[in-house]
């Protein structure tokens, strides 16, 4: 193992494979970024060329800033994503703790029931969800989106976190009990810090689909005041004419916050994914 790792040919090939994959993954993002700074003509003339003095243009960004309340969409997306993530992590971790820590009747059944949500897509229930939101008067509120995304994220969160929480030493929790810590203190002060890598994994896995989702904002909260960034960007895509400058600029802007959140979580994420492998 050690010998193989120091073999320059092997490590060169490994790096080549990884670099190729990185290039493939980054290509679409790069194309969007490059073209968002070009004139419309340059976008179609030479889509892969970098913007030069002649083709450079901020027209896309200017359109985005002028048309629609872009900052409000931004804020809506941020609120929905962050609050949903917070709720998923909080309730997911609590449910996972209960499932992994306590013996009670129906424990396994409850675990299975929660895991069902991983297999059945929530969009199947869209009509019923819409009816419920109408009945409760939550249509066109951010709360509607937050509730749906929390429900969507919980199954996987509970599944991953309960696996990790089973690995937290029983002795440690018992030591806390003998020292007089309440079950809540044990959960928040002993167990949560130890499963932080798993929490980051869950956060990243949930963050991207919520941020990018078009379906539920379109159905549950299409009003001007509650539009999310993804839905807001759709105004530039028309049936007959599409303002590509604006679309690309809007998408470029939409990438930024996800990137920032990812950087925050990534170190923990990598530890979470590899924790099983390097024990």
């Amino acid at each position: 193992m050690n010998k193989a790792r120091h073999n320059p040919l092997n490590s060169g090939l490994a790096h080549l494979a990884l670099l190729t994959y990185t290039a493939i993954a980054l290509f679409p993002v790069a194309v969007i970024l490059i073209n968002s700074f070009k004139t419309r003509k340059a976008i179609f003339g030479a889509p892969l060329a970098l913007p030069d003095a002649q083709s450079f243009s901020l027209i896309g960004y200017q359109t985005v800033m002028k048309q629609g309340d872009f900052f409000l969409y931004f804020q809506n997306s941020m609120i929905v994503t962050v609050v949903s993530l917070g709720l998923i992590l909080l309730f997911g971790a609590m449910a996972a703790f209960a499932l992994s820590e306590y013996r009670f009747r129906g424990n396994t059944l409850m675990g299975l029931y929660l895991a069902l949500g991983i297999m059945i897509p929530i969009r199947i229930g869209t009509v019923a969800i819409l009816q419920m939101m109408v009945a409760t008067g939550l249509v066109n509120t951010l709360a509607a989106l937050i509730l749906v995304y929390t429900a969507q994220g919980l199954p996987l969160a509970v599944f991953i976190l309960s696996e990790f929480m089973r690995q937290v030493s029983d002795d440690l929790k018992n030591a806390g009990r003998i020292d007089g810590m309440s079950e809540y203190a044990i959960f928040f002060r002993l167990v949560l810090p130890l499963v932080r890598p798993a929490m980051a994994t869950v956060a990243v896995f949930n963050m991207i689909p919520i941020w990018n989702d078009l379906w539920f904002p379109l159905i549950l909260a299409p009003s001007e005041a509650t539009k999310t960034l993804t839905l807001g960007s759709q105004v530039f895509i028309g049936q007959f004419v599409t303002d590509w400058n604006a679309v690309l600029s809007a998408l470029s802007l939409a990438i930024l916050p996800v990137l920032v959140l990812y950087v925050i979580f990534s170190r923990q994420l990598i530890r979470g994914i590899t924790s099983g492998a390097v024990k």
Partner: protein, 334 residues
Amino acid sequence: MTALSLERISKSFGPVEVLKDIDLEVSEGEFVVFVGPSGCGKSTLLRVIAGLEDATSGRVRIGGRDVTATPPAKRGIAMVFQSYALYPHLDVRGNMTLGLKQAGEAKATIDERVAVAARMLSLEGYLERRPAELSGGQRQRVAIGRAIVRKPELFLFDEPLSNLDAALRMATRVEIARLHRELGASMIYVTHDQTEAMTLADRIVVLRDGRVEQVGSPMDLYNDPDNQFVAGFLGAPSMNFLPSAALGLPGAVTGIRPEQMSISGDGPVAGTVTHVERLGGDTNLLVATGMPAPGDTLTVRLFGQHAHEVGETVRLGFARDGAYAFDSEGRRLR
């Protein structure tokens, strides 16, 4: 006064009965060791005493107080775990003081107790370190320190030495014995290692399949076991068991400790040496006899160094008064 009394403690997990009707009294200042093979229920019993598991039936009294329904923190106990179970995010001082802070002790009292415990365990230089920066032995001392500062009526040790290497284990064993003398506290210690049990205990409780097999001082159990299980469990290397009929002795099975056996030209048992262990101080021979199990391989412990070789044919003798007779159920015939 009794430090701990257990009355008819039973515990089942679903249909599995782990503890069956256990009665036990521990007097104040006594060092009691629970010993038994893995799965015998000794750790479960300790957790029932600590309040980490509820007994299915029976009562637990600590210091005369019925604590059957009392949460662990209020039972007047402290526990040392096999995996140390130190709080990873707190330094040594934080680990030792958490329990006292939760109990609302005054800061001056806490500081004083930490200072005393740190001196006792030579941890003075390490109070600001985190568990990750300590060696295994130091971590175990912190875990013991965390127990000491609580000034419990009863100390509970759950296999505290299993994670340490052999040299450290010996040193920590001596340390625990010294602490017991200095503190004069009542202690219950769980182990599967009969050497730890023999060297530390005032009294040993031998458990098997959730039942108490025998209770007594180490030498009582060694010299006068009630049954074949206790006889075989205590003592290393463990006792040899031979079919009595082959020797013309009473009972179904005859037990002879390896040190009671000898190589003698006119001994009653013949066999071939299959393995020789030379330890310097003594020499252990494994001898295949051709008798039915468990008498097919016998261990002979000879003091000093001997020149026996593998493959050699020997005859084994033993002192008649060193032989224990057991009936077919494994009960001792006296």
